[in-house]
Amino acid sequence: MTRTLLLIRRRLVTSIPVMIIVIIGTFLLLEAAPGDAVDAYVVSTGGDAGLIEALRQRWGLDQSPMTRLATYVWALLHLDLGYSVTFSRPILDVILERLPNTLLLMGSATALSFGLGSLLGVAAGAHPGSFRDRFLSIGSLALYAVPGFWLGLVLTVIFSVQLRWFPSSGIETIASGKSGIARALDIANHLVLPVAALGFIYLALYLRMMRAGMAEVWRLDFVLAAKVRGISRRRIVLRHVARNALLPLITMLGLQSASMLGGSVVIETVFSVPGLGRLAQEAVAGRDTPLLLGIILVSAVLVIVINLIVDILYGVLDPRVGSGEAAT
């Protein structure tokens, strides 16, 4: 328990400066963007020069950059990410509305890629150098080379256009009036293709990592020791080799969360899933820079939280974590 607390504290201590840097970075991008919030506001609502001046003063946009940064940070501390012109609503509201869909998509894709990827990785790594190993390893490399958005389109052509098995867009049937289990099944049905498109690339990644990790563990002495104790091959593969090779995959789970959030931008766009990624694309299309930067900030927080969860998970799975640093 104290070990977990230590991990949380360490992650938080390093996360604060990281978050500050991210905030400064987004502020700089906001400053670099052509036009400011008032221009955008006036474009969408209309207004004369007098109103523009008044708004600039009210939002503190006529101040020096340092003052503006302070205002920006002060607003962020109050969870105020600004106002979205494209949606005519506070940015945080829009983001929070879209977040669950993205979390659902990412969670399912992670479960698929991690579960299936590590299982296939074990299948490949159980007999290094075998035909099965080579086949899976080349196959996963080929899969890893496929861009998610294109895979999404190919899956759409096959499973939606040709076979008509799954819907090609949206998160659920609009105005279907479904609720409870029927609604959940409807959402699941809609998520099959986007989850496959997002997850397959990472499946290849986890497969390759598992396989490489197992190849390394096979060479360790304790595997030889288990063999000479007469432990069955099956048990050695699953309980010793795969179990040890799983640990780096857990770390990868956290490292890949940022990449997966990025990947969800294109996947959500391809499948019209109303999530954070689609929102980012809409922000770009609508030239809504504050909204885009709000998404980046929320994504960064999300990545930090996911990494924290992964840290704790790792601490549970690896008894060695934290034992050497109890003093710190």
């Binding site: 020791a225 104790r229 040890n244 008894p319």
Partner: protein
């Protein structure tokens, strides 16, 4: 009865299209309950011999000759017929599995016990290898134990399948002298209690002489001399064995029968 009969054993490794001969023409017997030490420098083939007995040589290794188990009517099974203790106790235990489970899985594999019975056996074994507070130490992970404790665990795991032969491959070389002595005493006691044969592999002829009934000396993949410990120590038949004894006496000043000191005594034989 005879435990092992090795006849004309030769082992050739293949590495990058190069052939390395590790053992040639080895004839050696091991009786039930006998303690045989295999002595040699690194590269003498002593570990290859141990691994050949357990079928642990890498794929593609050429093996000639025979290793027979006269008392067995079937092929030997690792863990059930032979227990093996490695040099480095830290490397021979799975870092993320509890100690208890690592001992229990051997008992479960070879004794047909349930997991519950296997854990009870593991606790009993932890007591036999004289670990303090067996019940709680079984819940620990390898990194929480000292080197000596880990080697006791490795020994417990090696004998958990009740093997008739225990191979200790430089099992005390990585430990400091005091712990080394404790482990030596423990191995001696366990071998006696369970009536096991012991194959004690070491580069240290003096250490081996403390435990072995017979000593076999290996050099460059050949068995060059084998005989009762007593006579081999007092009257070695080959110059190489004499050299090994001399070198040892020159370096080790803790032996009671070596009190002369100084460079001149390096060539002195035992009294």
């Amino acid at each position: 009865m005879r435990k092992l009969a090795i006849r004309g054993l030769g082992v050739t490794y293949r590495r990058d299209a190069e052939e390395i001969t590790a053992l040639t023409g080895v004839d050696l017997d091991l009786e039930d309950g006998e303690r045989l030490a295999i002595i040699g420098e690194s590269g003498s083939g002593k570990s290859t011999l141990a691994r050949a007995i357990c079928g642990l040589l890498p794929a593609g290794t050429q093996i000639v000759g025979s290793i027979d188990w006269p008392s067995l009517r079937r092929a030997p099974v690792n863990g059930r017929d032979v227990g093996y203790v490695f040099q480095d106790p830290s490397a021979s235990l799975d870092p993320v599995m509890t100690i208890g489970k690592q001992i229990a899985e051997v008992a479960r594999t070879h004794r047909g016990a349930t997991w519950q019975q296997s854990f009870a056996l593991a606790e009993e074994l932890a007591g036999r290898v004289r670990l303090p507070d067996p019940a709680s130490i079984l819940k620990a992970f390898p990194h929480q134990l000292s080197g000596g404790q880990k080697q006791r665990i490795a020994i417990a795991a090696a004998i958990a399948g009740k093997p008739g032969l225990l191979i200790a491959d430089e099992a005390t070389s990585a430990l400091d002298t005091i712990v080394q002595a404790e482990i030596m005493a423990l191995v001696k006691q366990l071998v006696a209690e369970d009536g096991m044969s012991l194959l004690f592999i070491s580069h240290d002829i003096a250490l081996a002489s403390q435990i072995a009934d017979r000593i076999a000396v290996f050099r460059d993949g050949r068995l060059i001399e084998v005989g009762p410990a007593e006579s081999l120590l007092t009257a070695p038949r080959t110059p190489y064995t004499r050299l090994l004894l001399d070198a040892h006496l020159g370096l080790d000043t803790t032996k009671p029968w070596h009190s002369g000191g100084g460079a001149a005594s390096a060539r002195a034989g035992p009294p």
